[in-house]
Symmetry: D2
Subunit: 369 residues, 4 copies
């Protein structure tokens, strides 16, 4: 069986997933065969060039026309495009891998999750950082109780591409297109990562307080005279209490000067602690058992998650490998009609927290999500 | 002129300040001469032994009796002992250096600050981390605008001495004696440090949300059958908005496994960023100007604050040196009748924030301090 | 024009280069088109499986038969196989990319370099670490004089896969097959990297002293009763003086417990210093100009070498990307009939130093290479 | 019993030891009582000022006159002054603590060691880095076999105070006064540290090759018209083979831009590895047992060497504390008539290696020390 894949979106995420698809054959020989069947977008000439470069058989400017020709839709468009194509695909029995966050709003996300529940097809959300070997290694350790009772969680995702007030406007800065700013773009990763690593240990978030901040209110648009307003957050933070009694601090910013892509998780438990940063994604700082200090572990041994597919110990992987692992798991689940996580219910759970953070900020109260 | 110093408290802080006093002559020859006149405490035999070891001329078990014999009172007792002796000393014209936090409660702190305002004597609070060379170096850089407009501040003070649920009860865990837990013991340092480094740039905190958590409700008492209740926080966090629009995250814990004394400050501004951790107190991580990454600066050059008094570059200082610098500045101010900061008004400003954090946690709302 | 590529070797290096070839189309669209024409090896069934997985059109067990069918030979076999196939290919006008070290012995390497000089075809040696973005960035800085006069160079390549005395024998431990051990396998990389980064600044090595050490004399062979002797070095070191007056220390080991693949270069100059480690290959530690400490630079900006072909800042690359860059440059040079470096003369220059290190160790004297 | 201490030298080392003496009473109450009896030097007015500041009872410009009035001589003068005063003191039954290196030349050192053997007094050499808590902790681990069979040792001491060619001449740059440069000043520490940590495991150095380099041949003298020649090494390196089969690399430089005082030791053994740097002297990086990576251990727990005398965990010590520990051990040995190490025989053993490194460099051969 060969899966016909349609991909909506041909820029950053389109390239990341096309690359992932193209590498499965060599490194994951038991992955399903795929055709990169159709690349979907609006700008025909850019689309043609991208399809040629990324190895697609055809292009389409109307996603609806593609649903009867594909087995899988990769929905990699801007957030506001996540909703209708994903729902329509699921209703047509086409499996969907949708980029994060699930939707611009909680109500849209709720509709998408409902469509996923009612569809026999597979609905995955592309929280790719679950597929970092060091993260899966950490999760296994935690599941085995290596950290004991969890007391503290900190998840912080720092970037700095908006520090310059003259950095240009983009759809990511518009509430109607993106839903939120740093919160949805970066915070969604943090919230999912904490759920993935610790969900079984700490339970759901029972209470939270959130803060959203916009530092620069409008930004220039290339080739336009007038600036456009920034209607989303440049940064957010939240403090939370989990059902278990653990506490958490979340934060993301696009104004953290000196940090390109610093997605960090820190956990303190009664029996150990760990730290991870995406900018050193092959490493895990880990303190367990009788350790007197954090070990700096290079998670590249052949028995570390996914590593045997690649290179010998110490031959480090890059950011893009997370997409290969994610595509492998998602496509295998589609082929085998098995469960894939993270799914749309996970996406909805993250969106519920994001929504509560926004409400807490607006209302000036603690919120029970 | 020789200043007669009375010191209330002979344990940890008593040793730290006695050591500081004893080192001024060799390393700060222009410091005032001091007599370690009287060591004040309750347990006479322990007191005698301590006075002998720490080089005091005499001992006293009643602090009131000492006020007419000393020029300066170091109030290093438990928090609940900060209040009356400090006020009485100031009323008697005796200068006071009081350990932090200023008092168990905001109302006590208000009384102390009032006494300080009305007294001709000097009233200092022992926020010793202001006197780390790297911190003063950072402050000077910030004052010179090296970081530009400040966007983010994070101040986190992590310890782990309560992770073990069998760790014994102490006065630090009792609300009536200590006022609060991690908040007052560690958070007070964080709040002061941010005020010191950034006060002029970001202005006061205008809005905050706080969370206090107690993980272990009671603890054993040595030689007692019954455990005693823990009535303070084991950990706290707060998110804040400053008048300038900058945002801040504060946190402290006594449950951060793997962290002995990790007092960290991180700042992101439009023109640069910095990071500091007390466990590497000779270092400052600094990004300014055209830097592409954080510099790891060893702040031990002869023109760095206080360093010329000590050793050549790279011959690192320890934690205790912060007390020497602090004592030098405080005693010089007393002798010269000049202003010393941090003073009781600074202590009160910190206490106001601590109080607001407690109220926010209790009420479940954002607070304007 | 499409280049027909034959690849001799289908294990570790075969996979690394096949992967590189397969990724050029998507990420380096101006690279030559290539056919993975023929995969060459001895074990027919393993060869078939590999060719299928790695995307080769055919297989061959006799390399001589392939030379008239290919434009380029990738010689990725064990060191002793580097010699004859490379020479024959060059004599047949087939371009060669040969893995390092060039040959088991200096005399073999001399013959190979002569063949390269006399052939119109391109003869490259696969010192892939020249193609790390951070390394090329460093080289450009050095060429621009950012470090001033060079005083010290340290190049150290540490692995630990032989620490266990029961780790099995392999061809890499046999002098007749490999030529040398850590020296040729790891030291060759170090020596080339220093030549690449600093050759113009420090000139040739004028004097050196070398030391080779074997810690375990024999090792078990799977499915054999008798162990086989280890006839190469487990570790080497060398101290050198360059023509410029700079000094250098080189070292490699397969017994450096805790180090998987730690290829490190450190340089100190009159105006700056830098440090690089392969285990954090996206980073460069750099001190220049008025810096007070090393900057930790993430070399992933769009104007860093090769980065614009990949992902946005902070989306880190892996070890394998060095092969993609190397293949791109090599194949482009073949197509355009332009110079490619590192070439066989570079390989010979490295081999000359390796040979001198071995002679110094044997004779107990300093050597002028 | 109170020991009368005479101190020859009142600059950097004079201050370091005077400080150490002054702190024993408070922190090491079982240390011998001492009088800082006499400070010895040549410049009377500078001497008076120093004696006053450092707390000495008297001064002397002729060391010979003091020997009948003191119990202990601290010989902290320039290297060429180490010899005669130390020998005379020992002959007079006065105990000696001599700064390192023992002497400018091996033959001088031999005479000093002979005098020590024949004297009933105690003869210590001030290798203060043996008294870093992390170093003693490491030594205990190694003695317990935690690293297994030692394969590799690297000891590197980097400073940068001579990078500027206009940095002024001093006695440290003159062969007749200092004996050697980086080798004796910094290398002596490295060699002793390796002997201390590993002597019992690796045995003596059996074979070595050394290199000495001078980058700047003459330097200006303040207030003089003519520069003076630099007649010692600016940097040295050595590679060695130990009796056990372990190998070692030693290096020191005063031209390592960016390194103020970076005294580093790295050890790899069959069961573990460790790293230490003086610029982070409270830390030890340690890999043992089942560890997957180096632990960053803060060696400040109450059961770590010497730490219970000072502060709670995480309240870091500084460079000067090494002198307090050293003085405590040395003076206790003097009082109790017990053995103190490192003694003059240790100093001689180090000097033997230094001498062999110089001969190897001069002769261009490997040397058996």
């Amino acid at each position: 069986m060969t899966l016909d894949v349609g991909v909506l979106g041909y820029r950053f995420m389109g390239r990341a997933h096309a690359n992932a698809l193209s590498r499965l054959e060599m490194f994951f020989p038991d992955a399903p065969d795929t055709n990169r069947s159709v690349l979907i977008g609006r700008d025909e000439s850019a689309l043609e060039a991208a399809a040629d470069r990324l190895g697609f058989d055809s292009t389409a400017t109307d996603w609806e026309d593609t649903l009867n020709k594909i087995d899988v839709l990769y929905n990699l468009g801007p957030n506001h495009v996540h909703v209708e194509p994903s729902i329509a695909a699921l209703e047509a029995g086409v499996s969907v891998l949708c980029e994060k966050p699930l939707a611009p709003t909680f109500s849209d996300a709720t509709r998408m999750a409902a469509a996923a529940r009612e569809s026999p097809a597979t609905a995955g959300i592309a929280f790719n950082y679950r597929f970092v070997p060091a993260i899966q290694y950490a999760r296994n350790l935690i599941a085995d109780g290596a950290l004991g009772t969890i007391h503290h969680v900190r998840a912080r995702y720092l970037q700095d591409w908006l520090v310059d007030p003259e950095a240009p406007w983009s759809w990511r800065l518009d509430k109607s297109l993106a839903g939120s700013g740093a919160l949805g773009d970066l915070g969604a990763h943090s919230i999912d990562l904490v759920r993935f690593l610790l969900g079984d240990q700490v339970g759901p978030i029972e209470r939270l307080s959130g803060q959203l901040t916009t530092f620069v209110d409008e930004r220039p648009v290339p080739d336009e005279d007038e600036p456009r307003p920034v209607t989303v957050d440049d940064a957010y933070s939240a403090q939370v209490a989990f059902a278990s009694g653990a506490t958490g601090l979340f934060e993301a910013s696009r104004f953290a000067n000196g940090h390109d892509n610093d997605n960090t998780v820190v956990i303190n438990g009664s029996d150990g602690s760990l730290r991870f940063s995406l900018e050193r994604l092959n490493e895990l700082e880990l303190l367990t058992g009788e350790d007197r200090g954090y070990q700096t572990v290079l998670v590249t041994d052949s028995d570390d998650p996914y590593v045997e597919h690649w290179w010998p110990p110490g031959h480090v992987l890059g950011w893009e490998h997370t997409f290969v692992h994610e595509n492998y798991e998602f496509l295998s689940a589609v082929r085998d009609d098995e469960t894939f996580t993270p799914d749309f219910q996970d996406g909805l759970a993250v969106q519920r927290i994001m929504d509560a953070i926004q409400r807490s900020d607006r209302d000036g109260t603690w919120i029970e999500p």
